[in-house]
């Protein structure tokens, strides 16, 4: 009798209770479930937000590299926006293209930099279509050397200032879409520290002083001087007193790239050049590399 009572009481005491196993099991399951739901989508790159930003970065790079830009005041319009961006009541869409696609006009590059400095980030954002009713996109637009990358950016410079660097610093705490275009500068002279013409039937000495590293230092000998009576052409070049070029006759005609030689040194570097009966030029620049007869760099557009 007593045993039956105890058994019933114990049974009544256990009713409506969960075992510790179930509680712990449920807790682990729910924690895992929440973790998976939150975490799994982020490991798929297609779900990451920067994928949606790439078309935006591409569009801006195309507008800048493949279009000369546009301005309008309602009654008059044109593509020479660099002459009108500062005037009141003028709508501007910046473009940097010069005479050809991928060849940038130095005046338009200067104008975009000055437009950013005078009108501010908001106006540039609006002009580039980076402002929608529900979002303002961050941006960074720059000209960089071909060897530059996102972890170690090297900007195209003229003197000590970047040729073009506008927008906010690129954040490392959020998704950023980066798109690059390879471009050339239309006017080699305006983006060069040294742009010296070499054209003589006689023997002439030139001295160039540069600070290493340089973006590009090249000697381009196009042909003999027009004076047909002069003797065979030749050229000797010393870098800090060491002979690096010694050519005669037809070997004198061509491109001589001293960039690597100079960049193996540091500080001030003296380039002494002695030429005879040649026609060409010498270019030293930190804006890019001399390729295809022009100075070449990268247009980098980052959007977030």
């Amino acid at each position: 009798m007593m045993n039956n009572y105890t058994s019933r009481a114990r049974h009544k005491h256990d009713e409506g209770k969960l075992s510790l196993d179930i509680i712990v099991g449920l807790t682990i399951f729910l924690l895992s479930f929440v973790f998976i739901i939150q975490y799994i989508p982020t490991i798929f790159a297609s779900e990451r937000s920067e994928i949606a930003l790439y078309p935006l970065a591409y569009r801006i790079s195309a507008l800048l590299a493949e279009d000369p830009g546009y301005w309008s005041n309602g009654s008059v319009n044109g593509t020479d926006w660099e002459n009108y961006y500062s005037q009141p009541s003028v709508e501007v869409r910046p473009g940097l293209m010069g005479s050809e696609v991928n060849v940038l006009d130095s005046d338009k590059i200067d104008a975009l930099r000055n437009f950013y400095l005078s009108a501010g980030e908001g106006e540039i954002r609006k002009a580039l279509g980076l402002e929608t009713p529900d979002r303002e996109f961050g941006f960074n637009i720059s000209l960089q050397l071909l060897s530059s990358d996102s972890s170690n950016p090297a900007y195209s410079t003229n003197g000590s200032q970047p040729l073009l660097l506008i927008g906010d610093p690129i954040p490392d705490w959020r998704d950023v879409a980066r798109y690059e275009r390879i471009i050339a500068f239309e006017n080699t002279t305006t983006v060069s520290d040294i742009s010296s013409r070499v054209d003589t039937p006689n023997t002439v000495n030139y001295n160039f002083v540069v600070t290493a590293p340089v973006g590009s230092f090249v000697i381009v000998i196009l042909d003999r001087n027009d004076n047909q009576s002069a003797t065979e052409p030749w050229m000797r070049v010393d870098v800090n007193g060491n002979r690096v070029i010694d050519v005669y006759g037809n070997d004198t005609i061509g491109l001589f790239d001293l960039t690597t030689t100079i960049n193996q040194l540091s500080g001030t570097v003296n380039v002494d050049m002695q030429v005879h009966n040649v026609r060409g030029y010498v270019i030293s620049t930190d804006a890019g590399e001399y390729i295809g007869g022009r100075i070449v760099a990268k247009l980098v557009v980052a959007v977030w």
């Binding site: 510790l20 712990v24 994928i51 050339a184 381009v220």
Partner: protein
Amino acid sequence: MMTLEGVIAAVLILSVAYFLFQSTMIISPVSDEVVYVQMRQYGQDALTIINSQTGAEDTLQYALKRINSTYTPYELLNSLEKLLPDYTDFNLQVYYVNMTTNEIEVYNITNRIPTSTTVTASTYLVIRNGNSLMIPPSSSIQQALRVPMPMSPYCWR
């Protein structure tokens, strides 16, 4: 009564799953396309830059007028290597019309083996009136005055 082994096993499985996913990014076809677009853009831009009329030795115009059995356009290839990112490789091919057979033929300036992740960029090139073209390098001179030539740098990661 729960077992300690069960709890430890659950924690172990979760830890392994976490570290596995932490170190791996699953690339979907959509994001792969983004990479291909940028690579193709590099190729297209590089061809645009070297397809200039400046007369420099590393331009397509200069090189293609001189290609024969003894001339290899090293300057052009060096410039392409500078223009394209370090992580890419490329082939350069010329498609041209053989005026004798009236067939489109291919001349390989480089002959590397493309991978499965190859993209192609091309450009047309016009050889001006009066300039003869010396391809293929068997020295048969093509008397075409205007030759469209798609060029294909293959870039792969």
